[in-house]
Subunit: 399 residues, 2 copies
């Protein structure tokens, strides 16, 4: 007498979780230093000291009834004003506090947007590779997921395949750039082309097709690259953001939705998102953390470790003969299974105590995902095991 | 092209919110000290100092990657173990850490349980007066709300009306004791009788009918009264709890669901709750606050102010000739509209700058709700206005 789809979602242990538990058990047998866990996307750089300093300052200076009290559903005035002002400065566009709706992280931001737009028969387009929770989120809204297969050369968008899949029922295309799992950033050209297609298809079908931009890795970019502000390229864009990665506080659950004024029916969309959040018991995002992020809009993470890890792992594995997708952002790197079987590749790596997630669940079979938010020392220790893995596939070391 | 039911929920300003905004505007005209806002249920007693002390201690002693990092979906081990141990001690029953699922407060706890149990055709029974968000939560799950009219004498349960409304589709009866809005606690006799009926009906229909006990006011009790531990009376009980009221931190969004082992199909129910939470983007409850509550299970609120307010307001209004429901817990008191029209009563009070919420939205027309989590001084200042209100209805002062 329970709802079966939710029961299934509750008992299904994610492969990442199973790997994590295997790693813990294996560490007891072979020693913690001999298990190389590349499976988890938990920031490995601590929160900047300013986060704790701000908490201490708030405890000293703000009346506890206000500090820990209910805020309006969309967030307290100070926090919404601060975020809006920061977005104005960054993007050179006008964002008002009324465009911001604080949420308990990017995941409930995404599900609220999905619920708000899941009209009867709605189709949500996922661009592979995509974050593995999207299908579960979409399914529970009643919408149909439509998957565009991956561009396994450049990890941009296969526009021919996308065009074929847009119908009169298409409500949104989900963009996640910098991307989990590929680490690739969509180029401005890619986003312009995407915008052109959605504009044309929107006109053809007589309603806006939204881009829902899930961008928790927005500031985690390397090589002098930058993440585009998508509403400036395609106005019908809704942004979902999280402070989990930029401030290394994924457990504290603080993020927001931004529905800019340029977005079609922005007021109705915002209201429907607020209503969808309310329907699942959203009251407000954690009140103290709203103020912490509001007072730290200038903080940027120390990306040196992630960047160095990315370069080390990419360089070393490429030298061994693996085909790797060069990451430009986030903290993931994809490696192609030499024989195309990512599940077998992951299993073979596991036998060498290298833990990695096959990308089948991300819509990209044939590849596995390595998190680079790990310790540099672990990467160094893991290299002999990677060499054995390369040898087992008969790969030739590159000059 | 947005989902209409969510749009409606997003634009519908609650009457409480409208009153609050009216109060703010009116304060500018007549002065803040001349507006008597009894509409809002925000704790007026600050969080105990130990809350801030624990935050400071955690910032000093716990590695920030752990402190602010993802926890398992149901909560970190320390927090679940601590809560389970405390429940064992309080109830004399066996609660395991695996029975606890941390949530972002009681509201998402309730919606996750509702979603988990909203099988096709499900009916959820609400006992009036009930918390005004329940119908919105239930509706969004697809279940049908069935309302048992209020016992306006004692504010216990009208069992004759309840029995008539239990069908083969009844999945749950929601219990909220101490009650919002009545402030009344269900007696042990009431709960035993409820348990007997649900046991009998469950046998008749061949499936368990759950009590879902929403108990954020569990420790806010007066006159030496206590809240019963319902699973000891009726095993098929699921508990939703929040630290919002007990620790005066409603904005921080921390609470839990407890599915005790005695509850029928407890493992399947727990898994479905976890799945329903996952489907709407629950990743974990705020990680630092999990540890704060875990380390403060012995903390109790300073109830003196609430208790004194309750007695003052009850005594004074009763003396003026109003019929009041004597609160035994929580921080609300209901007053009957002398002519039975609670909307008109609320409007007439508003004209005297007394802000109070009609209980029509709580399933209890004819009454209005006064929050007693206000300042004692405001109550004193409001008494002349209450006298005018009493006079306007021709009420006779009692000896």
């Amino acid at each position: 007498m329970v709802v079966e789809k939710f029961h299934q979602m509750g008992v299904a242990k994610s492969r990442i979780r199973v790997l994590f538990e295997y790693g813990m058990a294996q560490a007891k047998i072979v020693g913690k230093e001999n298990v190389f866990d590349f499976s988890i996307g938990n920031p490995s750089v601590p929160a900047p000291a300013k986060v704790a300093d701000t908490v201490r300052e708030l405890l000293e200076t703000v009346d506890p009834i206000t500090l820990h009290g209910y805020t309006p559903a969309g967030g307290c005035a100070e926090a919404r004003e601060s975020i809006a002002a920061d977005l104005c400065k960054r993007t050179g566009t006008k964002i008002r506090p009324e465009n911001i709706f604080f949420t308990c992280g990017a995941a409930p931001a995404m599900t609220s947007v999905m619920n708000a737009l899941a009209v009867d028969g709605a189709e949500f387009v996922l661009l592979a590779p995509y974050f593995s929770e999207y299908p579960a989120y979409a399914k529970s809204t009643g919408a149909t997921c439509v998957v565009v297969p991956p561009d396994t050369e450049n990890f941009q968008i296969r526009f021919d395949e996308l065009e074929k899949r847009i119908t009169k029922n298409t409500q949104m295309v989900i963009v996640n750039s910098p991307n989990n799992p590929s680490g690739v950033i969509y180029s401005v050209e890619t986003l312009q082309k995407l915008g052109e297609i959605l504009t044309r298809k929107g006109e053809e079908f007589g309603h806006p097709i939204y881009i829902v931009s899930d961008e928790p890795y927005r500031e985690l970019v390397y090589d002098g690259l930058d993440s585009a502000y998508i509403p400036a390229i395609y106005p019908n864009t809704i942004i979902c953001y999280s402070y989990s990665k930029i401030l290394s506080m994924p457990g504290e659950r603080i993020g927001y939705v931004c529905v800019p004024d340029c977005c079609a029916d922005s007021e109705a969309v915002y209201a429907a998102i607020a209503g969808a959040a309310r329907a699942v018991g959203h009251v407000c995002a954690p009140s103290m953390w709203q103020l912490v992020v509001a007072r730290n809009t200038e903080l940027r993470p120390d990306l040196k470790t992630y960047d160095a890890n990315r370069i080390t792992l990419y360089t070393e594995l490429t030298k061994m003969g693996f085909r790797c997708v060069k990451p430009q952002g986030a903290f993931y790197m994809m490696v192609e299974a030499p024989d195309g079987d990512s599940m077998a590749f992951s299993d073979r790596a596991k036998a060498l105590n290298i833990l990695t997630v096959p990308c089948d669940g991300f819509g990209c079979p044939g590849f596995t995902r390595f998190s680079t938010c790990v310790s540099p020392a672990m990467i160094q220790r893991s290299l002999p095991a990677f060499r054995k893995l390369a040898e087992s596939y008969g790969l030739k070391a590159q000059a």
